[in-house]
């Protein structure tokens, strides 16, 4: 009982967003990512100090508001990250993502290595790739 899928997530990309609350709402609408934790600054709910989102198929990432402090994490420029996510039904997810306003980089296509997937940008320019290829 001390181990399960969630606690075995050992790699967490960390993204930063200019408008983190809006980004989380978008990522939920567009990709079905689930918000698990969000710690906003008490006197300014727009500033997210730390938040976590989970991919229902396993895994997750962390995020915070860009420029929230002077640390190396706080000072990263938003919009430069790329994340690849394994999914079972890329066509359905593509429809959902574009309906939510994701900008298409590459529509659903079969790759010669046997994967089917697509690539879009979120509202702040980060690249999200989804595909059936689950890693070697």
């Amino acid at each position: 009982m001390t181990n399960n899928t969630e606690s075995s997530t050992r790699v967490w990309p960390i993204l930063s967003y200019s408008d983190a609350p809006e980004a989380m709402a978008f990522l939920t609408r567009a990709f079905g990512l689930e918000r698990r934790a969000a710690y906003a600054r008490a006197d300014d709910p727009q500033i997210i100090e730390h938040a976590e989102m989970r991919w229902p198929g396993g895994g997750g990432f962390m995020l915070g508001t860009a420029g929230k402090d002077d640390s190396a994490f706080g000072q990263r420029k938003p919009g430069n990250d790329a994340v690849y996510v394994v999914c079972d039904d890329p066509d359905a997810l593509f429809a959902q993502a574009t309906a939510a306003g994701a900008e298409v980089v590459r529509g659903p296509a079969d790759e010669d290595y046997g994967s089917r997937g697509f690539t879009v940008r979120d509202l702040e320019g980060n690249i999200w790739s989804f595909g059936t290829y689950a890693g070697e």
């Binding site: 001390t2 606690s7 710690y39 906003a40 008490a42 730390h50």
Partner: protein, 292 residues
């Protein structure tokens, strides 16, 4: 459920920690947030802090009893409990533990005190009692049932059965709706709502709110807000990665600055936030609720 590492002192026996969470039966969910089963073996004996939180303490031990070495109220003598019930508290208690700790923690909202224990939360404020001293024979029966249950599902089922039997849903109505609202507002805001704001929301004067709140919960709304802010800050400290600084936790939880948070920790926990993190046992007090 999150796995946590234990204290650094390595014991001779292999250490193992299990935390299992479960939701109570639906009729109990209005005032019991969840059950947390814990089983820790192979740790060197030591002490841990029983911290103020947004729940009443309600723990049924399995095997060795719960050994309170120092009560949150220094005027109450140390004691051991098979099944401990304590109210909200403004200071931490010290709990001793041996190489084996096992039991079920039941996270009860103070709004559930009348339903489960037949008394307003105020009666339990800053005090610990043996469960059977509050609810009678059934408290002992709950303890006995858990000693015999073979696994976690059976233990949680026994809790459901016993608590459903003795819960008196009608008594819940005796918490005034304004006070329920006040408690919910404070919990939702993580203790950031100002007392004046809260009084306005209810259409009460600050004095009336303070008096009524104290009569129900045992502590005033201002101290309750501090406890809830502290509860949120400890959750955030435990659950966010180390690159989230204590200053960020302070900013997120409504402290003026980090030294304000440090002062509150000194009073409520008896130590600094960083000391709390280094010395703390595997935490089960506020792991995320089970999905669904």
């Amino acid at each position: 459920m999150t796995r946590r590492t234990g204290p650094r002192r390595a014991g001779p026996v292999e250490r193992d920690s299990q935390y299992v969470t479960a939701l109570p039966a639906p009729p109990l969910r209005a005032f019991i947030e969840r059950y947390v089963g814990y089983r820790l073996t192979g740790f060197a004996p030591g002490v841990h802090r029983g911290l103020p939180s947004r729940y009443l303490t309600f723990i049924v031990s399995i095997g060795p009893p719960i050994d309170v070495i120092a009560q949150s109220d220094p005027h109450q003598a140390p004691d051991s409990y098979r099944c401990v019930v304590s109210g909200l508290q403004g200071r931490s208690a010290t709990i001793g533990y041996g190489a084996h700790q096992e039991g079920v923690q039941i996270d009860v909202s103070p709004l559930g005190a009348r339903v489960l224990f037949g008394v307003p939360s105020r009666v339990l404020w800053d005090a610990s009692v043996e469960c059977s001293d509050v609810v009678g024979r059934q408290g002992g029966e709950l303890w006995e049932r858990l000693q015999g249950a073979p696994d976690w599902p059976a233990r949680f089922a026994a809790c459901d059965e016993m608590l459903l039997r003795w819960a008196n849903a009608d008594a819940g109505a005796h918490v005034a709706p304004e006070l329920r609202q006040a408690w919910h507002t404070l919990v939702r805001s993580g203790g950031v709502t100002a007392v004046g704001e809260l009084a306005n929301e209810l259409g009460w004067s600050r004095q009336h709110l303070a008096r009524r709140f104290g009569e129900e919960f045992g502590l005033g709304p201002k101290l309750a807000a501090r406890v809830l802010r502290f509860d949120r800050a400890t959750t955030m400290l435990r659950h966010t990665p180390s690159f989230t600084t204590i200053a960020q936790v302070a900013a997120s939880c409504g402290y003026f600055d980090q030294s304000h948070l440090d002062r509150d920790f000194l009073e409520l926990a008896g130590c600094s936030p960083s000391q709390l993190l280094t010395e703390e046992l595997p935490s089960f007090q506020d792991d995320p609720a089970p999905p669904g």
